[in-house]
Symmetry: C2
Subunit: 341 residues, 2 copies
Amino acid sequence: MKTRPPRATISDVARTAKTGKTSVSRYLNGEVNLLSPDLKARIEQAIAELNYRPSQMARGLKRGRTRLIGLIIADITNPYSVDVLSGIEAACRAQGFTLLMCNTNNEVDLEQHYLQLLSSYQVEGIVVNAVGMHEEVLNRLQQSMLPMVLIDRKIPDFACDVVGLNNLEASNIATQHLLENGYQALLFLSEPLGSVNTRRERLRAFYDTVKNTAHVQAENAEVALHQPDALETLLRDFHQRHPGKNCAVIAANGALTLQVARALQRLQLRWGESIGLLGFDELEWAALAGVGITTLKQPTWQIGYAALEQVIARIEGSETAIREQLFSGELIVRGSSQPLR
Amino acid sequence: MKTRPPRATISDVARTAKTGKTSVSRYLNGEVNLLSPDLKARIEQAIAELNYRPSQMARGLKRGRTRLIGLIIADITNPYSVDVLSGIEAACRAQGFTLLMCNTNNEVDLEQHYLQLLSSYQVEGIVVNAVGMHEEVLNRLQQSMLPMVLIDRKIPDFACDVVGLNNLEASNIATQHLLENGYQALLFLSEPLGSVNTRRERLRAFYDTVKNTAHVQAENAEVALHQPDALETLLRDFHQRHPGKNCAVIAANGALTLQVARALQRLQLRWGESIGLLGFDELEWAALAGVGITTLKQPTWQIGYAALEQVIARIEGSETAIREQLFSGELIVRGSSQPLR
DNA sequence: CTGTTAGCGCTTTCAC
DNA sequence: GTGAAAGCGCTAACAG
C-alpha cells in the first residue's frame, strides 16, 4: 500500500520557519506589512520547502466563507447551457470563486438532493441555469435562502435576480424578419408554455408583431421535445393547411430547432425552399444544414458572466432592488428564411 | 441588511434533543442500531425542527475524506466533453461523490491554478478529460499525486489509468468501410500529432488497413483547428491531386469534422457526391448536413462513467496494476460515405 | 447504549 | 512585531 505523504499543515510550516502559526496565517492572508522581512523570508522558504497549500476546508470552517458557488443546471447536454457555463466559469475565475457544478438531469429528486448538498458544502451563493428545467423543479428552488440568481427564466411570484434575453425585442426582430421576406403563414413552435415566462414572452411578441400586418396567418403550437411523431404531424398539418402560401416556422429554442429540422427532413420539406425556418439560439451547425438555418443568437457567454457577477454582488451584501438584466439577441440570417420561390 | 439565520450545528441538535453530540453524530453516520428508539426519535425530531444539515466542511476536516472529486476539462465547449461529463456526473451521484469541475480553457496557467485549487479543497481524486487538451498542459499533470484517471489520452511515460476508445479497432472499421465503398484516395486528417497517442494510433491503424488494398492512395495531414484557410487549401489540393479517383477524408475528431464540413462547403465540394467524408465522434447534426455525415460514434457516456468508477476504485485503495480500459466505437453510416457516382 | 473529550487545520482575539 | 490560546462543526477514542 503506497501511502501518500500527508499534506503539510500550517503547524508544519510554523515549525519549519521557527515561528508560530499566527505569523504564517498572517503571511497567507496578505498581512505582509506586519511581518519583519526576515520572518517573512523564513516563512516563504518553509512554504516552498514543504510545498504547503492551505486547506480550504479548514479555512472555510473557521471563517464561514468558502468561496464556493453552486451551479444548478437542468440539462448539461443543452448547448445553450454549455456556453453559459463557460461564461460563469470565466467570471468565477476572475473573482476568485470556485464552481460546484450540479446537473439535475431534470429530475426533481436530484434537484432536491443537490440543493442540500450545496448547502452542506456551505456555498456562498447559487446560480440556476433554468434552461430546459421543469417548472416544478424550478419552483422548489425558492426554499433555498442563499443568494441566488436565475438564468433565462423567472420563478412566478418569487423575487429573485434574473439574467437573460430580451425576449420581446428578440421575438419581434425574428418575426419582423420573416414578414419582410414575404412569409404569409407563421407557426410559432414552443415546448409546453406552462408558466414559463420566457416562452410566453416570445410568443406574445410574436403575435404582437404579426398583428400589424394584414393577410398574414399567425398560429402557435406546443410540443414536447421528445415526441418526434407529434411534431411531424403538427408540421405536416400546418403546411397543408395553407396551400399556396409561404409558410414559416419559428422554433422557440435550440433544442427544438434541432427536432424541427429532423422532422422537416423526414417530411421532405426543405427549409428555404418549401418552408421557412427560424430558430432561437445559435447552433454551430446552422450553416451546414441544407441552405443554412437562420437563428436568433443569444449572447450566452455574457449572460453567464453577468449572472455570476450578480450573485457575487449579493454575496458581498448588495441590498439593491431585485434586478432583471436583459441582453439583446442578434439575428443571423441564413438560407432558411429567404423569400420562397 | 437582511441577515440570514446561522445554520444549525450538531450542538444545537444535541441540545434540542437533550443528548450529546456523539449520539447525533452516530445517527448521522447510520450507526442507528446503537441507539435506543427513543433517543433516535428525539434526534430525528430535532433535526427536522432545526432543518439541520451536517457541514461537509467540518466533516471533511475531521475525517480527511471530503467525498469530492476534481474534474479537469480542457475545453467544455467540445461536445465530446459534455457527453463524458454527463457520464461522470451520473457515476458521482451513484457513488455519493461530488464534482468540482474546472475548465482550463486550454490555458497552461489556469491548469496549474486549478490543480492547486483542487488540492486545497482536498479532493480525493481527479479525472482528467484530456480531449482537446494541449500536450504541455497534460504533461504538467503528473505533478499531482492524487489518484487520477485520464480520459481519452495517455501521458507519455507516466503510469496512470486511462479510459478511452479502442482506437485501432475503430480506425480500422472506419477505413475498411471507405475501402469497401470504393474510395481510392484517402486522406486522414488530424490535429498536429505531437505525442498524442490517440491521434497516432488512429493514424497507424488507418495506414495498416489501407496497406492491404492495392491501387489505393493513402495520405495524411495535420492541421490546427482554428486555421480554416490552411484546411481549405489542404482539402482542395488533395481533391485536385487525384483526378478521376474517388476521394475521401477521415477527420480524426468531432471538432475537426465540423471544420472540414465548413471548408468543403466553402469549396463547394459536396460530401457524398464529389468527395467522401467520415468523422470520428458522433454529432447531433450529422444527419442534417447535406446527405448526412458518416461518423464513428464513441460510447462517451460510458467512458465517463467508467472513468469515475476507476478513480473511486483507486480512492478505495485498489492497488491493482495500471489499467487501460478501452471501449469499442460504432460506425454510423450516412450519405457522406456512400459509393460515389 | 450514551456522553465526555480531544483534536482535524485554520483564523482571530488578546497579550506580550 | 509576534505568539499562545480559543474555538469553527464535526468525528473518534475512551469511559461510563
